[in-house]
């Protein structure tokens, strides 16, 4: 394929304005210094313990996500548009959730198939008719974006449940500031460190109406074997709230309590980082030890708030994704600021036919897949892989969607040979509470392998600091 990719630093051989100062910086950095700094960064990550715990696969249980020191830069102008688009999307997704657990007007209006909503695995019957505080279901919305040109951004995916990676956004910045303070003196870079405060405010703002004091907030983690445990404890630490496991909590008298050294302490808001099905063995999976028996009853009677709300997952399903632009028009009466990637649904026979005929050019994803598993990148695949997917899709078309292979933008990235363009995506984190806010930045993930379009950390992707320049 002779695709040309948009290079975010060098457009037609010219340095684009936001990267202007970085050119001197890289030119002035000899290879030895670069290697030294890279080693220093790695040592810092390891020392601080910013690791991605991988248990049960043998080898080092504390894996580092590769960190690329070359920052990715957005202008204030570019960011403003992204910000507006993301907030718009977060509002629409929340309106959708409130609607489908309520009157279901979007379905009745025929804008989205009933089956897709009500027979969706992520649809929680247990919360039908329930209105969470401020009517918000998804409080932390992680929107995955890719870029294909100076003004072309596409939303790849919405994450309405428990988007992860925000600790990397914060730590990447810390480490960059520590290693290259000069860069921050020379470039005016918007800070991201307000995130934890904003998160705490957001969570506190959705405390149950009955809570008449400063709400007690806690993060619920599946435990220290979870790969994102570092992030859970990092956020709890930054916010100054307890990091609890299911066994630390119990239900009594219509409230949720924490077991503390001074006796039970009432909990008002739970930022949960475990899936719906593990929240409450009495309501969902009876075999789960991770949750709290009786939690859902307390939740439904307004004794505690759960963020994101159980059932929020129905909005970030890859099949529902296709309808988000429609949601924006339906609920907000606005035109979408950010575009979706054109998507074919294999569940529809004519679209499925097209997909099967063009497998070699498309990216095929499992509707419920994540982490870069269960996907086919047509142009990068062998004949055998394509044939395997052809069989899978034919057998279970409902389970697949397909998208064109986008010419993802690249940014300069430090690789062994020096600096080379590598594909990137972006995940900003939008907080939805009393206010809708997001810090200027996000997590840029980079595909470190040459030519690779897969940026997931489980597939050899790395991360880099993401700058939004001040005006």
């Amino acid at each position: 394929m002779s695709t040309t990719y948009f290079n975010e630093m060098y457009d037609n051989g010219h340095v684009r304005e936001p990267y202007a100062r970085l050119e001197d910086w890289t030119n002035a950095m000899p290879a030895e210094l670069r290697q030294m700094k890279q080693a220093e960064a790695e040592a810092l990550f390891r020392r601080i313990g910013i690791t991605f715990a991988v248990y049960g696969e043998g080898g080092d249980p504390d894996r580092l996500i590769p960190f690329d020191m070359f920052p990715r830069v957005f202008t204030q102008f570019e960011w403003r548009r992204l910000e507006r688009g993301i907030k718009q999307r977060a509002r629409a997704l929340n309106a959708f959730l409130l609607d489908v657990y309520g009157r279901g007007e979007i379905v009745r209006a025929g804008k989205i198939p009933a089956k897709l909503v009500y027979q969706n695995e992520a649809f929680e019957r247990a919360v039908v008719g329930f209105t969470p505080p401020r009517g918000i279901y998804s409080h932390i919305v992680g929107i995955d974006l890719v870029r294909t040109g100076p003004d072309e951004f596409f939303v790849l995916e919405d994450n309405c449940r428990t988007p992860s990676g925000v600790s990397y956004m914060l730590e990447n910045r810390e480490i960059m500031m520590r290693m290259f303070p000069n860069l921050f003196r020379e470039n005016r870079i918007e800070p991201v460190d307000g995130y934890a405060d904003a998160l705490r405010r957001t969570l506190a703002s959705v405390a149950p109406a009955r809570c008449d004091r400063e709400p007690t907030v806690a993060i619920l983690t599946p435990g220290h074997f979870n790969s994102a445990y570092y992030e859970h404890s990092f956020l709890a630490d930054l916010m100054g709230v307890e990091l609890v496991e299911g066994a630390d909590l119990f239900v009594e008298g219509g409230f949720v309590w924490m077991r503390t050294t001074e006796g039970p302490k009432k909990l008002d808001v739970i930022y949960r980082r475990i899936d719906d099905s593990f929240l409450d063995p009495l309501c969902f999976r009876p075999d789960s030890m991770l949750g709290v028996p009786g939690l859902m009853d307390v939740y439904r009677s307004g004794g505690v708030s759960i963020c994101s709300a159980p059932g929020a997952g129905v909005a970030d399903d890859k099949a529902v994704y296709t309808f988000v632009p429609e949601m924006i028009r339906f609920y907000l009466g606005e035109e979408p600021i950010l575009q979706n990637v054109p998507t074919w649904q294999c569940a529809k026979p004519d679209e499925c036919k097209y997909v099967l005929e063009n497998l070699g050019d498309l990216v095929v994803k499992e509707v419920h897949g994540s982490g870069g598993y269960g996907m086919l990148v047509g142009p990068k695949s062998t004949k055998d892989q394509i044939e395997t997917f052809r069989i899978k899709i034919t057998e279970d078309p409902q389970n697949y969607i397909a998208q064109p292979t986008l010419a993802l933008s690249t940014t300069p990235t430090f690789v062994e040979e020096g600096i080379a363009p590598r594909h990137v995506d972006l995940r900003p984190y939008c907080l939805v509470g009393e206010k809708i806010e997001l810090v200027p930045g996000g997590l840029t993930r980079v595909a470190l392998k040459e030519g690779s379009l897969v940026v997931n950390s489980s597939q050899g992707g790395g991360v880099k600091d993401t700058w939004v320049l001040a005006e």
Partner: protein, 317 residues
């Protein structure tokens, strides 16, 4: 504070202290092994160390004969041995990872660095590692972890739980170490007061890094009575049973004050300390050193259970 957090902190303290004790035990054994053998059956000094550390059975089923090299492996590197230095450091570090939010960056750094270095040590060929190098390394790590705690942690309930872990483990471990010497090490009563006896007492003091301190405190000849006084009743001696109890009592009192509630753990600690303060060396020998230590270990165990029930089990009301 979450009960589970308190429990993890408590165990960090215990594990670090236990790792240090294991290293000190190894040092005692190695020093004694340097002595020319004093009669048949005297190889049992290693055996007695295993017994004192509560690891004799595990060792026997894995290695059989107590050969120094195997004992070093078992007490230092073996992950099958839950009390080995490696196991203790690994678990202390894992507990710390779980309660990162209750520790300062510097404490985490000290624990995590110890863990990283330990992994490097493990990769080294064993022939390149001298035992003293290993035990000194452990003492150094434990000191830097303690130092980071003392220098940077908030003096809150978490600090008390950490220190309770240290002090209760220390009380237990010191009692066991003394017990090794008096009850197990001596092949027969004929050796009491002999050169061998004194050498063993000295070795014990050395293992506590307290030989010089002992001389400064008492002067003159080393006698069993002086050493028993030093290791049990002397408040100036940081590893003495009375000092460990005093620390335990102080931290339990701090918790009672913080929480505005006194419970059985505080009362028991005060009673134990009071009793020990009134004890004379002669009383201990009259009871029998071994009997006294056995009783002490049991009482410290009960106290530890009370701390657990009051704060760590999550059942506090």
């Amino acid at each position: 504070m979450l009960s589970r957090t308190a429990e993890n902190l408590f165990w960090i303290g215990r594990y670090i202290e236990r790792a240090e004790t294991m290293a000190r035990l190894l040092e005692v054994g190695a020093r004694i092994a340097l002595m020319p053998s004093a009669g048949h059956g005297y190889r049992s000094e290693w055996e007695s160390l295993l017994q004192a550390s509560g690891t004799a059975e595990g060792f026997a089923s894995k290695y059989g004969d107590p050969v120094q090299r195997n004992i070093e492996s078992y007490l230092f590197f073996d992950r099958d041995n839950p009390s080995s230095v490696v196991s203790c450091l690994e678990r202390a570090r894992e507990n710390a990872r779980i309660v990162r939010t209750a520790l300062t960056a510097q404490v985490w750094d000290a624990l995590n660095s110890a863990f990283q270095e330990m992994r490097k040590l493990e990769r080294k060929p064993r022939s390149e590692l001298e035992l003293t190098e290993l035990t000194e390394w452990v003492n150094h790590q434990a000191a830097s972890i303690r130092g980071a705690m003392d220098a940077t942690l908030l003096r809150n309930d978490g600090y008390s739980f950490l220190n309770l872990g240290f002090s209760l483990e220390r009380a237990d471990n010191t009692a066991r170490l003394i017990d090794v010497k008096y009850f197990v090490l001596l092949p027969s009563v004929d050796f009491v007061g002999s050169g061998l006896d004194n050498y063993q007492w000295q070795t014990l003091l050395r293992a506590f890094s307290a030989l010089r301190a002992f001389h400064w405190a008492y002067g003159g000849d080393i006698t069993a009575a002086k050493i028993a006084h030093f290791l049990i009743l002397n408040r100036q001696s940081p590893r003495a049973l009375i000092s460990a109890l005093e620390t335990t009592k102080d931290h339990l009192d701090a918790l009672a004050k913080d929480y505005g509630k006194t419970g059985p753990a505080q009362l028991r600690a005060r009673a134990l300390l009071g009793e020990l303060s009134d004890t004379r060396v002669e009383d201990i020998f009259e009871e029998g050193l071994h009997e006294f230590l056995t009783r002490f270990i049991r009482e410290v165990g009960e106290l530890s259970d009370m701390v657990h029930n009051a704060y760590l089990s999550g059942d506090a009301r």
